[in-house]
Symmetry: C2
Subunit: 429 residues, 2 copies
């Protein structure tokens, strides 16, 4: 059978990885795809750069969008990234011509995914994006096909390896965020501009995609509540340990009364829960279905090899002709359950204050909570140094985010509270 | 679109579960499958039994094989079990008529899977069996499609929930095998005749299936080395803990020099490894690919809900028309790498002896190991009671199974060794 002819836009580490996977595993890939897979055309910014793989015999395009109209190209792989040009135009051009697209572009899917899915349906072309979420872990396939018989109630995961690496190192060595971030940047685990990762935006892109598939509704990135890990301190990680928790940046989407709640923020989770043990650059996802119960998937969430593995798995599916709707069901079959705002969130909270160590302080703070009907589960005040600043930790029972926000503002305004309080939500798992 | 018309053979807990999933989640299943899924015909042993679900409006067959020739049936679901009649005849009859088959029958696939795959290829009908391995965990899909870009070097897993439950309870409560098995039988976690589970045969069926997909070669159940958990004692579990290990019944298939090694036996694995933390009736699988690295999948490995979830996922794939070769590649594209016999296994070993506590015993035992070039990593002899029986634990460095077997026979023959020695293999993870 004629090889599937592939155009590759973007030759960074992932693009180069795709070339390497296709060459090194060519025999088994052909057996599994039913035909050989061959990259025949490429586009990147710098033609002369040495990438460690030969580009001999491949048609070169300076303009990636031109790949879509190359008549010898069957499938376009978009590894440029970003929600703007040229990635979006390339994907649209290929889909309009009825050519399947494989992309690792989580931002593009999260922001423009609903429109792109409709475009794909109109032309009958596949739009595949296993590599966009959790790198090599086949979580899109697991949710969209493997658990397709289930109503998913909740999906939660460690979706950003940079944040998980930083939190892991902070916890293991008792070090502060800024210091560990700088080290991660030196080691190449964090970007020079780390904001997309450490502010939770990358995880929110991925969560938006997972939530759309899990709940069968159009992708809604703007409805995801996002907080990053900049404010996590070594002190809070130590307190978490003392309370039997670990701090992780999680993306969580779940069915709530009134709709779907989707949020990315640091969480305290029980040290014995499966996600608590996932350390370093590993990613993991828990999905809970109404018949299957909880399913946990874990693996490398980034890097050339794992991401390329996911891109090539999508190419094999396309070669085999395995049609799957972009979001698991046709756009017309998606539901329109509303998004629930963060203010309606119900959960338990960890609150750490720096207060003046003197009589009556705890009474003042707990009076605020009482006035808002927030019930306390535990309080920790370690050590004494009268007149000095000491940390006080409060853990609440389940309460409402709006009430908690009001309490936080009132507590922050107390004279005896010396710094902005730290609030970390507690998740059951 | 016309509903996909399904015949269901076998109405035990899983068959009843399939009916419940299809009814309770009918709307989302139709959206994901692109058409409704409807069971229209059933067969079981006892028509009058109350199963808690209505069979009204379904065509009843006393002979399950007759389901295959019902002209209104599009797909046959085989949930009878066993490698003989009528399951095998039903599956063959359906495939011969070009009708897709979904089965949870691990034994049938492990023993007759190569021939059934050829039959399916000849007629162009799908043969799907996600439910045959690890219940609700979509491990067949993950290996066969999600990791299809990779050469898999190793696949290992906790594949039998009954064994894992027994080992977990033995470890948590320091109790002996027979006692915990009896309790598991009372609770319904173990069968009245528990041999298939506790002797490792069920896990070996599942491992044979996973190995065939992972390594792209015809399923070879007879080549799997099988040992169960009957000989595991509370004492060995306690020693494992002391040495930093947990004891699990694992199925392991890996590439070795000369071919593929496949084995099911109790293992000591590091307490910090992902599989060590999987307790109770949960199953988990680790697959290692040459680009993706390790991927870990965890979930409920049995029970009506999880197993039915997998059966219905296969039905949705069939409704969507997603052709996947039975073993991941066409029968003609499978390789024929040989199976490596257990005698060629290389690994570390835990050996526990009951010996007479007197001078020179350790010297006698270690002389046997030295003569066979088996290198010791550690030795434990706790407590002293001169002249009485005391346990001695030896942990070897990596050595060869054949040498270890010879050593074991020689050590067992020593006068000072009072019982048959216990040997447990040590796995890196």
């Amino acid at each position: 059978m004629r090889p599937l002819s592939i155009a590759l836009a973007g030759l960074g580490t992932v693009g180069t990885g795709v070339l390497q996977v296709l060459r090194e595993n060519a025999d088994i890939i052909a057996a599994r795809a039913g035909r050989p897979l061959a990259v025949t055309a490429v586009s990147a910014r710098d033609r002369s750069r040495d990438r460690g793989v030969s580009l001999a015999g491949l048609r070169w395009y300076d303009d990636p969008v031109a790949l879509a109209s190359d008549p010898q190209v069957d499938v376009v792989v978009e590894l440029i990234g970003g929600i703007g040009e040229p990635a979006k135009t390339l994907v649209e051009a290929a889909l309009r011509m009825g050519k399947p697209v494989v992309t690792a572009n989580k931002a593009l899917l999260a922001v423009h995914g609903a429109a792109l899915a409709e475009l794909a349906e109109q032309s009958g072309a596949a739009l595949a994006f296993e590599a966009a979420v959790a790198g090599g872990i086949p979580v899109i396939k697991a949710l969209r096909e493997g658990l397709a018989a289930n109503r998913i109630h909740r999906v939660a995961g460690i979706l950003n390896g940079t944040c998980n690496y930083i939190l892991t190192v902070m916890g293991e060595r008792g070090r502060e965020f800024a210091e560990v971030l700088a080290e991660a940047q030196r080691l190449g685990y964090a970007e020079a501009d780390p904001s997309l990762d450490i502010d939770g935006i990358d995880a929110a892109h991925k969560l938006a995609i997972l939530a759309a598939i899990a709940f069968g509704r159009p992708v809604a990135f703007e409805a995801v509540h996002v907080e990053g890990i900049r404010n996590i301190s070594a002190l809070d990680i130590a307190y978490a340990g003392e309370l039997g928790y670990r701090i992780k940046l999680l993306g969580i989407a779940r069915e709530q009364e009134g709709g779907i709640e989707a949020r990315v923020h640091p969480c305290m989770i029980p040290a014995s829960s499966p996600l608590a043990r996932v350390d370093g650059v590993f990613n993991a996802i828990v999905a809970e279905g109404n018949f299957v119960g909880p399913i946990i998937l874990e693996g490398r969430g980034a890097g050339a090899g794992p991401t390329a593995s996911a891109v090539v798995a999508d190419l094999i599916d396309i070669a085999r002709g395995r049609p799957v709707p972009v979001w698991g069901a046709a756009s017309s079959a998606l539901n329109h359950r509303p998004s629930v705002p963060m203010s309606a969130h119900v959960g338990a909270y960890y609150l750490r204050l720096m207060v003046v160590d003197r009589a009556g302080v705890i009474a003042d703070v707990t009076a605020v909570l009482r006035d808002l009907n927030i019930s306390l589960e535990s309080m920790l005040q370690r050590g004494r140094s009268p007149g000095e600043a000491v940390p006080v930790v409060l853990v609440t029972h389940e309460t409402n985010e709006a009430a908690m926000r009001t309490a936080l503002a009132r507590i922050a305004a107390l004279d005896v509270v010396l710094e902005a309080p730290t609030l970390i939500r507690i998740e059951p798992a």
